[in-house]
Amino acid sequence: MVVKQVFDDKIEYISIIDENGNADAALFPKDVDDALVLRMYKRMGFARDFDAKLLSLQRQGRAVTYAPLLGEEATQIGSAFAMGEKDIFVPSFRQHAVQIERGIPLELLFIYWMGFEEGCVVSKPLRYLTNAVPVSTQLPHASGIAFAQKYNNTGAAVVVYVGDGGTSEGDFYEALNFAGVWKVPLVVIIENNQWAISIPRAKQSAALTLAQKAFAAGIEGMQVDGNDVVAVYKAVKDAIRRSLSEGGPFVIEAITYRMGMHTTADDPTKYRDSSDEAIWKNRDPLLRIRKYLSAKNLWDDDKERELHEENVKTLDAALEKAEKFVPDPSSVFKNVYSFMPDVLSSELSAGEAAGYWLGD
């Protein structure tokens, strides 16, 4: 009889800047200077202003159901800044800040949230996909896109996002498993915001960490303080480098918190304790960096006000352009196939003749 240990691994958690804005000098990445921290802080501020804008538009009936990112700015901005020019970004449906940083025009994001496919047009070469709503189904796409990068030897990695709830889906595991077998350059970011609508993290999985789900696919995983933009930046940058140089996927579980609602159709007071919210308010990802920068005299109230005013101007200008968008109902018929089948052309022309597609 033989008894031996055949598997052993561990999950590390890193945090660099704490809730009080104090940085761990030993862990602080060499390639991050204060100028970069300042830039990331400003972009987190922009993300929060974008979020507030969309929330307000939805409440006014000018946008469809919207999924706020409030509280998850550090996970999104830190990871977006870590990506290289060529890397490809695959979102779930809450990574608005990453979309903005990856260069999706604000105007398109507004058009998307106004409810039009024209907000999802993508430029070439492929640098990102647009939102995937069914939960986790974007992960196999990311593995396939990563396969194509390896196949064509492009030197680009793929960074895909999924929520804590999404890790319970079959596609999450299937995608990790394929990527593990294929050893493709894929970084999976589990944006663990503790809640999948009303289901808390504890009810989602009995696993101690979600990062350890990587082990089942034979790949490595880690946790990062998802409210620490510097720690996220470091973790994702290292993971991208590893995925390219060592040829293999990597899973990062970013521990963050959904400070707002799941979507504008949701009411967290039905299921969430406000004391929980209070704890996480102290861990606000913007607050700690503001403390960090203020202590170095790099930030103050005036700068904060100016930033906010500038953001609002930028957002309003983009929104003004977006609201000039004129929908073309025939576009829903013309983009289904590479050719126009008889059935669609007759449905389109019959609808046009009857005036169904002329608007209100």
């Binding site: 490809i88 496919e117 024209e118 999802c120 047009v121 993508v122 430029s123 070439k124 492929l126 996909l129 647009t130 995937a132 069914p134 189904t137 992960l139 196999p140 796409h141 990311a142 593995s143 396939g144 896109i145 990563a146 396969f147 194509a148 990068q149 196949y151 064509n152 079959g170 596609d171 299937e174 995608a175 498993n177 394929f178 077998v181 576009s331 829903v332 013309k334 983009n335 289904v336 196939y337 590479s338 050719f339 089948p341 008889d342 059935v343 669609l344």
Partner: protein
């Protein structure tokens, strides 16, 4: 070359891979094993593991990663081992493959061909005999083709690989080795979206596809009826014009398919004819299809499947009214 359907599809895949280095094959057991029906036999040896990929056993993973490959510029041809297992990848097909073009206003496309064996009559286990064509046709965005001969199989595959749309390529298991045909050695295409008038006739129009094509042909030959036989070949989008014109000419219509009758392709064909030609018909449109129930175990399939007797009775009924 003399080829059965397996050889014809294999030849088409070889030609497609030789013509375009972006074409990759992936699926369960498609490498050394050559696929459980041997459709990919010899292709691993010829093109290597980089392009002929044995995958983990996960249908959603196979179709979902193929979607990603296609978005990134490759032209994947995934194989799903049996149609009954393809439902595990259904979400990827209907939620993503079918929608990427429309939801990106044609800035993203999914050029892939999902191959799977379909239909019964081969006395095999549960979940190996389904005829799922309508599931993939209903929502729009997927092209669904089903050849009934080696010639059409090779030509449709070579068309499908070039198409910038996701294609569900249904291969009737029963026809894989049923007969050989003389087909061209080189490349040729059978148009997608175009039905095939297999036999011209004046008295009755019989519209069919897949496993039922040769059963209909035998029935018509035996009955010596002057029937026009139309093989749809493409289920979605339908070549409505061809069968509506034929219905107007003959005034009698029988639709024959193996998939169960309720909500089947026959319902769609019948509705199109009714909308466009009902006053030119001399008899009600009839359907011959399997009963509206889950596919039975192999012991019962001979009762379940449409056959020459059922088709002959429908022809008689139509012509006598």
């Amino acid at each position: 070359m003399q080829a059965n359907m397996v050889m014809a599809i294999n030849d088409a895949l070889r030609i497609a891979m030789e013509n375009d280095s972006k074409v990759v094959l992936l699926g369960e057991d498609i490498g050394k094993d050559g696929g459980v029906f041997r459709v990919t036999e010899g292709l691993l040896a010829k093109f290597g593991e980089k392009r002929v990929i044995d995958t983990p056993l996960a249908e959603s993973g196979i179709i979902g990663t193929s979607v990603g490959m296609a978005l990134a510029g490759l032209r994947p041809i995934p194989e799903i081992q049996f149609a009954g297992f393809m439902f595990l990848g259904f979400s990827q097909l209907v939620n993503h493959a079918a929608r990427f073009r429309s939801r990106s206003r044609s800035t993203l496309t999914v050029p892939m061909v999902v191959r799977t064996p379909v239909s019964g009559g081969v006395r095999t286990l549960e979940h190996h005999s389904e005829s799922p064509e309508v599931y993939y046709s209903h929502m729009g965005g997927l092209v669904v083709v089903e050849p009934s001969s080696p010639y059409d199989a090779k030509g449709l595959m070579l068309s499908a690989v070039k198409l910038d749309d996701p294609v569900v390529f249904l291969e009737p298991t029963k026809l894989y080795r049923l007969f050989k045909q003389d087909i061209p050695d080189g490349s040729y295409e059978v148009p997608i979206g175009k039905a095939n008038v297999l036999r011209e006739g004046n008295d009755i129009t019989i519209i069919t596809y897949g496993t039922m094509v040769n059963v209909v042909q035998k029935t018509v030959d035996a009955k010596k009826v002057d029937a026009e036989i139309i093989d749809l070949r493409t289920i979605n989008p339908l070549d409505t014009r061809t069968f509506v014109e034929s219905a107007k000419k003959t005034g009698h219509v029988v639709i024959v398919h193996e998939a169960s009758e309720s909500f089947g392709a026959g319902a769609e064909v019948a509705a199109r004819i009714a909308e466009e030609a009902i006053y030119e018909l001399d008899a009600p449109i009839l359907r011959v299809a399997s009963p509206s129930l889950p596919y039975p175990f192999p012991g019962y399939e001979k009762y379940y499947l449409p056959n020459e007797k059922k088709i002959a009775e429908a022809i008689d009924k139509s012509l006598s009214s």
